[in-house]
């Protein structure tokens, strides 16, 4: 649908905040976080999926025929709205929350000590990526979704249920957002209003340099951005290290200059006259 959804950041934030009871306290009592693990994961994912569907229904469906810039602005407004809603309910102070502490212990594999949570993150990411590829390539709904991304009008004429497919796309992005919010919370142990922002901005840039509308492109872009940021972190002199993000973002602009459509160009991305 060519929507760059800023509100994705707030899906992540809200998913994480759903773990705790809304109070002004810095170490709030747990809400969803107090439930057994399976129920907790399900609960957080459910909250985020419902939220994603709600924003789709209220803010994006009425705008479906607008141009990409309008959608961009509208998602910016949704994001601002959600961020301030969280601030209203949970106050703006960062909070600490402890879930899954047992995962923080290091695991030793072949002489390399790796924190458990990073293994979990890698496992979940790989699992989700495989599941997503399978869904998009093999199931009827996934194929419809790819058709819609390629040529929305044509797909509709051929009988694709537009509302259902787009809602499903939002639900999936909500699901992935919920997974991110859980992993992020386990890793950092803190809740912050802007916790979703940086991952999502990195995600945008990765998608854009990978090529919009291409899943391999998004994965490739994600790797590039990640590798660039780690390399810069390692090899920059210490006093330049805080500027790492600036280096990564400059890289994004440079890649776009060479390949404005992204690294992997799909037929959907070509401009039609």
């Amino acid at each position: 649908m060519r929507l760059v959804n800023f509100a994705q950041a707030d899906y992540i934030t809200i998913g994480a905040y759903a773990l705790v009871v809304p109070t002004a306290s810095v170490t709030p009592p747990l809400l969803l976080g107090a439930l057994p693990t399976a129920v907790m994961i399900g609960g957080v994912l459910l909250v985020v999926v419902v939220l994603a569907l709600l924003t789709e229904r209220l803010a994006f469906r009425p705008l479906r025929n607008s141009n990409p810039s309008t959608l961009l602005i509208s998602s910016f407004a949704v994001s601002y709205f959600l961020q301030n809603l969280v601030m209203l309910i949970h106050t703006g102070r960062p909070k600490s929350v402890g879930i899954g502490q047992s995962l923080a212990n290091a695991v030793e594999i072949g002489g390399v000590r790796v924190p458990g949570v990073q293994l979990l993150t890698m496992g979940v990411t790989a699992g989700l990526l495989v599941a997503l590829v399978f869904f998009l390539k093999k199931t009827p709904l996934g194929i419809q979704m790819r058709a819609a991304a390629e040529n929305f009008q044509m797909a509709r004429l051929l009988g694709m249920p537009a509302n259902r497919v787009i809602a499903l796309a939002f639900a999936i992005s909500g699901l992935l957002g919920g997974a991110v919010s859980l992993l992020l919370t386990i890793q950092t142990g803190t809740l912050d209003l802007r916790m979703g922002l940086m991952p999502v901005v990195y995600g945008f840039f990765a998608t854009v340099i990978g090529g919009m509308g291409s899943l391999p492109g998004a994965a490739l872009g994600g790797f590039l951005v990640g590798v660039a940021s780690v390399l810069l972190q390692t090899y920059l002199p210490a006093d330049l290290r805080p500027f790492r993000d600036a280096g990564v973002f400059t890289l994004v602009i440079l890649i776009l200059l060479v390949r404005p459509q992204g690294l992997i160009v799909t037929s959907a991305a070509k401009e039609r006259v």
Partner: protein, 353 residues
């Protein structure tokens, strides 16, 4: 006979009407609030006029080119910081901003030259970023302006020896009065108007309507957008200088996403297709922000104290913007300027024919 050699008063009037229709009400607001308004109302009016400078500057690029920019807060910040370096707190500068070059660190520069230099710097920054970014079109361009905003934010919040990191620089001389702000707002409106009816302006508005057709007519997307982006950088830079010397403090966190959101909201609500839209949007949003800020502060109705929870104002602004986007996509002014009916007809004919 005379009317043939030089334009009559009526013709001049018609030419300047879209500007006068914006400037005169603003001047009236300043006069009336200056005479009868309380201090807080006067401050709101100054904030509104500074916002007009910034949003009209933003309009020069976004409105005319149709490309959304998230990066203009960058140039506001550059000008504000440049002005702070030149004029702020002579005694403290060698300690707090030790990394400044000596000619800046050890002396203050008079206000007017410093303001001019700051605006020029913002314009130069816009020109340089424009050189790169204007090669891109559509969403890629918007995303890149966002990247520029993040780059500046990261750099300025970590460049401790020069920008004091994410701390505020306090103690800039506050010389901005309502009349000075009005003068700058009028200047911005006049520049934007002259630009949009110039050949450059018409060219870029053509690219907004149809990139391919405009390019086929011999208009360079790159150069027309670069000109608009640079001009717009100068103008928001002026806004940045005003903002810095109105608040007396500069902090990088004030020039990030919330600032960008508010400026874009003003432009979108009024309608990004016309100069009148930009100005009307600022007035409407400023009024809303002010009203709800007061309600959040608490008012008494019938002896009882009422107040909205803090943060309501932002929610309402965002919701209002979404409603505008859904129900009146082109904003309040829907891309029209304020003019005589006859003139509106002629402009329509021009667009259609």
């Amino acid at each position: 006979m005379k009317s043939k050699t030089m334009p009559s008063f009526a013709a001049i009037g018609r030419f300047w009407l879209p500007v006068l229709a914006l400037v005169v009400p603003l001047a009236l607001i300043v006069t009336v609030t200056g005479q009868f308004g309380g201090l807080s109302l006067q401050r709101t009016v100054i904030e509104m006029l500074i916002s007009i400078v910034i949003v009209v500057g933003l309009y020069v690029f976004v409105g005319n080119s149709g490309v959304i920019s998230f990066g203009h807060a960058t140039f506001v910040a550059i000008a504000a910081y440049a002005s702070a370096w030149q004029t702020c707190c002579e005694m403290l500068k060698p300690i707090t901003m030790a990394g400044l070059p000596p000619f800046l660190r050890d002396q203050s520069i008079p206000l007017l030259p410093s303001a001019i230099v700051s605006v020029l710097l913002a314009g130069a920054a816009a020109f340089l970023t424009g050189l790169v970014i204007m090669r891109l079109t559509g969403l890629a361009a918007s995303i890149s302006t966002l990247a520029v905003l993040f780059i500046l934010n990261v750099v300025y919040s970590n460049w401790d020896s020069v920008t004091m990191g994410s701390a505020s620089i306090v103690g800039l001389p506050t010389y901005v009065t309502a009349w000075l702000a009005l003068a700058c707002a009028v200047l911005a409106i006049v520049i934007a108007y002259l630009y949009q009816i110039s050949a450059f302006g018409l060219a870029i508005r053509a690219t907004r309507e149809d990139e391919v057709a405009a390019a086929a007519s011999g208009i360079s997307l790159y150069w027309s957008r670069l000109i608009a982006f640079t001009l717009s950088g100068f103008m928001v830079g002026l806004g940045g200088v005003l903002l810095a010397h109105y608040l007396g403090t500069v902090s990088i966190n004030n020039f990030f996403l919330s600032f960008t959101f508010l400026a874009l909201a003003m432009l979108i609500v009024g309608g990004m297709g016309s100069l009148a839209g930009a100005v009307v949007g600022v007035v409407v949003i400023t009024a809303m922000v002010d009203i709800f800020r007061r309600l959040e502060g608490g008012i008494s109705i019938g002896g009882q104290q009422w107040s909205l929870p803090a943060g309501t104002q932002e929610l309402i602004i965002a919701a209002f913007m979404l409603l505008i986007l859904v129900f009146r996509k082109d904003g309040i002014m829907a891309g029209r300027e304020i003019g005589l009916p006859e003139q509106a007809q002629r402009e329509k004919g021009l667009i259609n024919g």
